[in-house]
Amino acid sequence: MVDMPLVTVEDLGVEFVGPEATVHAVNGVSFTLTKGEVLGILGESGSGKSVTLRALMRLLPRKKTHLAGRVEIAGRNVMALGEHGLSDLRGPIVAMIFQEPMTALDPVFTIGQQIVEAIVRHEDVSPAEARRRALELLELVQIPSAKRRLDTFPHQLSGGLRQRAMIAIALACRPQLLLADEPTTALDATVQIQVLLLLRSLQQELGMAMIFVTHDLGVAVEVSHKLAVMYAGRIVESGSVVDVVKRPRHPYTEGLLGSTVHEVPKGARLTPITGSPPNLAALPPGCSFAPRCRYAEARCTGEFPPAVTLGSHLGYDHVARCINSRRVGQPETATS
């Protein structure tokens, strides 16, 4: 990893200030990403995955959100950008693919119009040239009969094609960083794989960095180089895909792996994680996973465990935030 990082996130914090309570959605997330790298962020609902993505683009409602920490993308200090700086950032540098292809496309404009709009917004090109580029993009995302699809409305396309169209819009200005917020969750299984493979090949072809947020372990493994597991707004474990999936060192990751249909013999029961995620408006002191953790002991509730580097694989440090990380995943304690 000799390249300068494209994305540097340091101690990112997001709080939503409401009339009744302040919700601590993200509590000190740090990571770096270089050009051409794919980071998979794994976590259950409410773990702060999507909020982290939106914070990177500063898409969260300004008045109700408190942001903390440092975000630098392509040499720009995102936290300090004004409305204009953000407009220049969104599109040509960072673009985002949303979860719901049904609602993330404007129903009253054709696919072509929406791609053209995204291009014209940032680049000084003629309408004919923009349309030609739109057609190229539809072909790039492998939409069949691209020429005719250009003039169709979102509701005339299937879910998979809509998601492809959305990817085309996101790629319209050749972003350096693509954020994908559960882009395959709303699709059915076979279409999921097609879209996933498309995203991976596009990422490699265009040399983009990508942050892929999902709660689906299989999906994360398929596209990512490195993984970060989030729990209650913190990254509890990160490392190369192999390290995290094969040698989990945080009890939460271990529990997550134990509760998915992943290399489990047929007929074997899955092991769910007991309990439920903590209330983000009133986080327990110390490790937020402690109340559900089977390794928990008294000192877990003191303060949040520091990051422990446990090794390195393919150039990615394997880091876990657990004081018992050496005990987790060892043969005598491992599940199944």
Partner: protein, 310 residues
């Protein structure tokens, strides 16, 4: 850079990647080019809407061309020919209580009545629509301020409010127009605001922000594009209400004044003759009924034609 494990899984699924051009399927031969083209095609195929549009076009066309149609002077009285029945020679639809030709008066009356129907709505649409868009998009305190102010006007029944405003400004067509416009601003603001608030929360607005669109651009394309349909449909309903209110204002003497030909006013003056010549007395009312019903049905047709998802 891929982990070897991941690489292995890959090969298994590569067969599922569609080859370029492999799924070349013909997409319907008659793909509409634009949104408004779709709406147009759908409207033309809807028999009720098409019929109503034709009737309205005929009434409006006749009203506009009235002076050149060779009709008798709508203001020329003839004491000898008062209240001739419908179908009399020379007076196809009879005459009124002063012997004026009914057909001529109904057609000339359409000029004022239709103007009173469309103009206040158009002006109120411009003002209320802008207010609603701004309030809905900005939200927060701006929204509170605008919406509570419109609520003050909204608290009065529309006819009463129109009567009160027209009454305090004095009788006359101009004041009646102004009064009806003021009456229509609150409901249009409210409808626009509620649709805007809904659209603003949609994912595609966030997606537009994520691709770098500024607030003005989002309002102009995504918000306006999605709000225009429902608000426009609502406005067509208001046209018929506007015709009714203006007829009502004229009827109680706050709108057009005699001898001007206007449907509401004609209804008022013919009221005393309802037992002598019932058919004649009912005709202006019939015109109001037909016109406002046509506008209502057209707005229904527009509603279904403009929803692209149907």
């Amino acid at each position: 850079m891929n982990a070897p494990e991941a690489q292995r899984i890959t090969l298994k699924f590569d067969a599922l990647t569609p080859a370029p051009g492999a799924m070349e399927v013909p997409v319907g031969a008659m793909l509409p080019r634009t949104y408004w083209h779709t709406v147009g095609v759908r409207l033309a195929r809807d028999p009720y809407t098409a019929a109503c549009a034709l009737i309205l076009l005929a009434i409006a066309g006749a009203a506009v061309l009235a002076p050149w149609l060779g009709l008798p002077d709508p203001a020329a009285t003839n004491a000898a020919q008062r209240l001739l029945p419908v179908g009399s020679s020379g007076h196809l639809l009879g005459t009124d209580e002063l012997g004026r030709d009914m057909l001529s008066r109904l057609i000339h009356g359409g000029r004022l009545s239709l103007t009173m129907g469309v103009l206040p709505v158009a002006v109120a649409l411009a003002i209320g629509g802008t207010l609603g868009l701004v309030a809905g998009f900005i939200g927060g305190r701006t929204n509170m301020l605008v919406m509570r102010l419109t609520d003050v006007l909204y608290a009065f029944p529309s006819i009463l409010l129109a009567v009160a405003i027209a009454g305090s400004l004095g009788a006359g067509v101009g004041n009646a127009l102004l009064a009806i416009t003021i009456v229509f601003i609150p409901p249009i603001t409210r409808v626009t605001e509620s649709v805007t608030t809904q659209v603003r929360a949609m994912d595609f607005v966030e997606a537009a922000r994520a691709s770098g669109a500024g607030a003005f651009r989002i309002i102009r394309t995504h918000i306006l594009g999605n709000v225009m349909g429902p608000v426009f449909v609502y406005a067509t309903v208001l046209v018929s209400v506007s015709i009714l209110i203006s007829a009502g204002l004229s009827f109680i003497g706050l709108g057009a004044s005699p001898p001007t030909a206007e449907w509401g006013l004609m209804l008022n003056t013919l009221r005393e003759s309802i037992f002598l010549a019932p058919l004649n007395a009912v005709l202006p009312g019939f015109m109001i009924f037909i016109t406002s019903m046509c506008f209502n049905l057209i707005s229904d047709g527009l509603r279904s034609a403009m929803d692209v998802r149907l």
